[in-house]
């Protein structure tokens, strides 16, 4: 009787043991599977952004009274002089951690005989770092030695326009706009087609003729300048500055160039402001680095290297999408691009993850604007001090970002990144010590155990 029950009990125990083993194995495989699943999690596809605005004033130099501004394509100016662009297209993707916001409209800034057309700004955010891009066309002043015909200029500030902030585009009287409006049509050309881009005429005589399109074109890509010339209220005495009265820009600056859609600046994003009622999220982006081409254009425009103003932009999000959007813009979800993402986005605005900027490279190629001085295309060679490169066989075009702070050394923070694990050696030492100590303790306890057994 006893023997039978023992056998039964033993069988039962064995059963329990096997169950225990199975449970343990399941626990481990489950853990591994969970880890794998978490690692393989990929975010959802791209989502649309339904609206938003971008406020930007290009430069603090705009407060200069010599500067006149023309708006078109729905751009308005707010009370502080910043331009407000409205969103035309935008999307974000938690899978790639990228958000793209495209805004429409264009602004022409005229100062003396220089002008800069900024159209269709766009912000690409990836992992807390973001880039401001815009279509740029610049028409520069004549060379300082050249006696520039400035006859047309004093009349360019019509009294009707002064003093009233233009909030709606109205057809401007001929001659009211920038001398550089010849540069504007070139911005309409798709940057990929080399033939279709009329080039900016760089000579002063060519740039003074304004073939104005009198119809205000509402859609922004046609950056025809048809908006009202808006003040900075211009006293008639200073409305037509002669070239000599201005700080003459260095001759190294380009006289004219059409940059196409180009990277303007790298932005450091700050100040997330969530307005839940309106479903908008707003940021301020401070330029931390500026494209050298843009810097050159600004130098040509303002004579000095005027600072680039911060950019404020906002996005309107769909219901329940706030967290995703915030994750993307704050850069919490920086994941490598899924390999199949190249086909997953039907939107015309590709995220940087996949194809980035199709128009970027060709648009800044030197062949686009023959009248451009070499400075505008290949900045390394344009730098007067560039002497150290023996072979320069590649006229490859690049957007050159220059560090905003001069020396770089003080601006970048604190330390070089940690590229080694300082804990490896200490860990190894402590670990080996523990192993030896544990072994000795075990051995001692075991010997003592035998001793106790003998007792």
């Amino acid at each position: 009787m006893n023997g039978a029950s023992t056998v039964r009990r033993q069988r039962g125990r064995r059963h329990i043991r096997w169950l225990l083993v199975i449970a343990l194995v399941q626990l481990f495989t489950g853990g591994v599977a969970t880890v794998a699943a978490v690692a393989a999690t990929s975010g959802p596809g791209p989502r649309e952004v339904t609206g938003g605005t971008l406020r930007w004033s290009v430069s603090d130099g705009l407060a200069d009274e010599h500067v006149r501004v023309a708006l078109s394509g729905g751009v308005v100016q707010d009370g502080t002089g910043r331009f407000v662009f409205s969103m035309v297209d935008g999307e974000y993707d938690t899978g790639t951690g990228t958000a793209t916001a495209k805004y429409g409209g264009s602004v022409t800034i005229v100062r003396g005989q220089s002008s800069l057309v900024v159209s269709d700004p766009e912000i690409v955010v990836h992992g807390g770092e973001s880039t401001l891009r815009a279509e740029l066309a610049f028409s520069g002043p004549p060379a300082p030695s050249d006696p520039a015909p400035s006859a047309g200029l004093p009349s360019t500030a019509p009294p009707t326009a002064s003093g009233t902030p233009a909030t709606e585009p109205t057809p401007a009287p001929p001659g009211a706009t920038a001398p550089s409006t010849t540069a504007v049509p070139s911005t309409t050309a798709p940057p990929g087609t080399p033939s279709g881009a009329p080039t900016v005429s760089g000579t002063p005589s060519g740039s003074v003729t304004p073939p104005l399109s009198p119809t205000p074109t509402p859609q922004s890509p046609t950056a025809t300048v048809s908006g009202t010339v808006t003040p900075p209220p211009v006293p008639p005495s200073v409305a037509g500055p002669t070239p000599s009265s201005e700080p003459s820009p260095p001759t190294a600056y380009p006289t004219s160039m059409h940059l196409g859609t180009t990277d303007v600046a790298l932005l450091a994003l700050q100040q997330t402001d969530v307005k839940r009622q309106q479903r908008t999220v707003a940021w301020t982006g401070t330029p931390t680095a500026v494209s050298r081409q843009v810097a050159d254009a600004m130098s040509g425009l303002f004579g000095t290297r005027a600072p680039l103003a911060p950019v404020a932009f906002s996005l309107t999000y769909e219901q329940d999408a706030l967290d995703d959007l915030l994750t993307v813009i704050r850069g919490d979800a920086v994941t490598p691009c899924p390999s199949g993402s190249g086909t997953s986005s039907p939107s015309p605005s590709p995220t940087n993850c996949e194809s980035g900027s199709p128009s970027h490279t060709p648009s800044s190629s030197p062949s686009r604007s023959p009248s451009t001085t070499p400075t505008s295309t290949n900045s390394p060679t344009s730098t007067p001090t560039s002497t150290s490169t023996p072979k320069r066989s590649t006229p490859a075009t690049r957007t050159v970002f220059e560090s905003v702070t001069p020396a770089g050394g003080e601006s970048v923070d604190d330390t070089l990144p940690k590229t080694g694990d300082g804990y490896v050696l200490p860990l190894l030492t402590v670990g080996l010590g523990l192993m030896v100590g544990g072994g000795i303790t075990l051995r001692a306890s075991r010997r003592a155990g035998y001793l106790g057994d003998d007792l």
């Binding site: 083993v21 481990f28 591994v32 450091a268 401070t286 220059e402 905003v404 702070t405 330390t415 990144p417």
Partner: protein, 63 residues
């Protein structure tokens, strides 16, 4: 602890050895692919690099 686990492993010696090895491998895998990367991430949290955006006014161009 180890003796306790060993005693609870079923079967005969080869089976026990195989199970013990499997257990050890499982623990190792969880550590290597799950715990260690996590711990490593935590250890590197506090380090400061040049990546941090500068907070002083970065608006001036290089002269």
């Amino acid at each position: 602890m180890y003796a306790w686990i060993w005693r609870r492993l079923p079967g005969r010696l080869p089976v026990r050895v195989a199970l013990a090895v499997a257990l050890a491998a499982g623990v190792l895998a969880v550590l290597w692919f799950g715990i260690f990367p996590l711990v490593d991430g935590l250890l590197n949290l506090e380090d400061v690099t040049v990546e941090q955006p500068p907070d002083r006014e970065p608006l001036q161009y290089a002269p």
